[in-house]
Subunit: 362 residues, 2 copies
């Protein structure tokens, strides 16, 4: 087991905001970005938490991420927005766009935004949560660096392109799906590579396009651009329906990058040192567009209970509903959160430059 | 190889319309239903084609499917509809609802309809195609009989709940995804069962909830309600991300049945001899809500070509885009279509009751 270190959430917040302010973000944008990152850690999605701070800081320093966060509205109707993020930080861009969607959905029943020229925006589910907090239905999709190989291909052309969608409950917690359209995200290969364990053959393929069980080799190939990569949900062959995950990944690319005339597929992170041109698609649906909030919540409770109460497989004691594990983690990590030793040390190295340090409490 | 028989599409159409009129459908609704069925055969989705005519005829005779097709609009906003289908035929209900969505999307940029108390509506992609024919983005989802086992469960609680979404191209054909959220539909198990071949372990599970490679046993268990069933996209375990397919299936149930206060999960086809209470979710997005039709089509062409032109895996010569195979089948089957011998004979048995016969042309 890797060593872990516990920190206070408020200490962590002060520290990360401090770093982001020092590299030049406005207070508001530093706070938004920090909240997205720490939310990921609290929801046990460590791969998208403060462990990414270094990448963001480096991105800002090298100019790939612009400090200013100017949202240009390219087109607007009562129920839609096309936004240009002008290469700014992904988190504040998506946060402000989602706020606009919520406002418009209150007035006009729904709103969808397609956003171009942004950057990595953290966990997709954060923006869905923003809608859920307003008792609305939330949708959050983003394209990402090409790491996934389409069915019958051998090179990574599409992203892990996550889909998040959430519906509010009444007595039950919201249903909150947040999933990559690849079988697994890249981080899972890194874990297996460190442990030298074989990966299931639906996770990744080699440079010839054949399913691979060697995580280290797949990661090396991706870095050296030799071919191969992650596989879509369903795996690398039609027999196990890998073409469905590939299709869903393409839908995310289209809603995010095609509808906004932004970057898609290979063009995302397409030029080294140039803006990443990540695109997002956000949506909010007001329950009043359908049967209203009260019926929606009651119906959701009924449905969620039907799923949870279904008969369990031999050896299993629970059937989970999307988001349940993350909500339980969030409740557990309300005041403190544990970080990998390595992540804790890297944070302090980043902070040292600005005279900031993060203290451990265990 | 099973014997096949070729028929003329117009003969087939006249025959199926004739049968449906004779069991009591209006001319218009008989024509709509027939077009949905034959479109499936022409697109090589035989499981949802005229092979299903007997089930529809039986459904009407036993009163599970109502002859009248009355769409009650329960709630309406400029961009949404909640519709009660009053237990009528699924195809005309979904057809008329999609027509309304298209009209509203022309005026208000988009429209989504959640529909309750309907019946099996054929291929999801048919309604998406209706939007594509108007150069709009189409969405079509439906819940279905509970045949799929959620992750960590052992009984079928959710449907194969398909997702269809389509985007128009300019020189390229439209991108048209039409997929069940289970790894495979039930029909695939039937094929393997007939051939006595082992199925991949991500397709189905036994009555204890463990992955099974025995198609015949899984089908027997489903019929006898002994437990087990189809597995969600990604398979039966978390390691291969079966929980993602399960989550997507639930989203379809929620948009179709929860938003309309209709039936979900186990309640679909819940009582023998009673209305099936199938629910659908349809949507149309006008490209003018985003960058307009011209840019959308150009961007789609660019994206589709990027996918098609990507490097092929060893031994492969093509990368397909969603819907491509079905469009090619449709072009091939423009004037004639081939049916399984068994299907052809069953059609003539159904027709005999009304003095109708279908002639073969080979």
């Amino acid at each position: 087991m890797e060593k872990r270190i516990t920190v206070n959430n408020t200490d962590l917040k002060t520290f990360v905001v401090g770093v982001l302010k020092n590299v030049g973000l406005s207070v508001e944008n530093a706070q938004i970005t920090t909240d997205v990152l720490i939310s990921a850690d609290c929801r046990n999605i460590e791969s998208h938490g403060v462990a990414r701070l270094k990448r963001y800081v480096d991105g800002i320093k090298t100019g790939i991420i612009k400090l200013e966060c100017m949202l240009d509205i390219i087109r607007e109707t009562p129920v839609s927005l096309v936004i240009d993020g002008n290469g700014g930080m992904g988190q504040p861009i998506a946060y402000h766009a989602m706020k606009k969607c919520i406002e418009k959905a209150k007035q006009h029943f729904m709103c969808f935004a397609s956003i171009r020229n942004s950057n990595h925006y953290g966990i997709a589910g954060y923006y869905t949560l923003m809608a859920l907090e307003e008792n609305m239905i939330g949708i959050s999709l983003t394209n990402s660096a090409p790491l996934v190989v389409p069915t019958f291909g051998k090179n990574a052309v599409i992203g892990t392109n996550p889909i998040s969608i959430g519906f509010p409950g009444k007595n039950e917690r919201p249903f909150l799906l947040d999933m990559t359209t690849s079988t697994v995200p890249r981080g899972k290969l890194e874990v297996y590579s460190r442990e030298d364990a074989a990966i299931p053959d639906s996770w990744a393929c080699d440079e010839k396009g054949n399913p691979s069980i060697d995580a280290a080799k797949v990661l090396d190939n991706l870095i050296a651009r030799k071919g191969g990569g992650l596989l879509p949900l369903g795996g690398g062959i039609e027999l196990t329906s890998g073409h469905k995950g590939y299709g869903l990944s393409a839908v995310v690319d289209i809603l995010s990058g095609v509808l906004s005339s932004g970057a898609v597929g290979l063009d995302v992170y397409g030029k080294k040192g140039a803006p990443a041109e990540v695109c997002h698609f956000l949506g909010v649906i007001n329950p009043e567009a359908f049967m209203g909030l009260d019926e929606l919540q009651n119906n959701m409770d009924y449905y969620v209970q039907m799923l949870k109460n279904a008969s369990k497989a031999d050896g299993q004691t629970r059937i989970f509903v999307a988001g349940e594990k993350e909500y339980e983690a969030m409740e557990k990590n309300k005041t403190t959160v544990s970080l990998q030793n390595k992540v804790f040390n890297t944070l302090n190295e980043i902070g040292a430059e600005f005279g900031l340090s993060l203290k451990r409490i265990d």
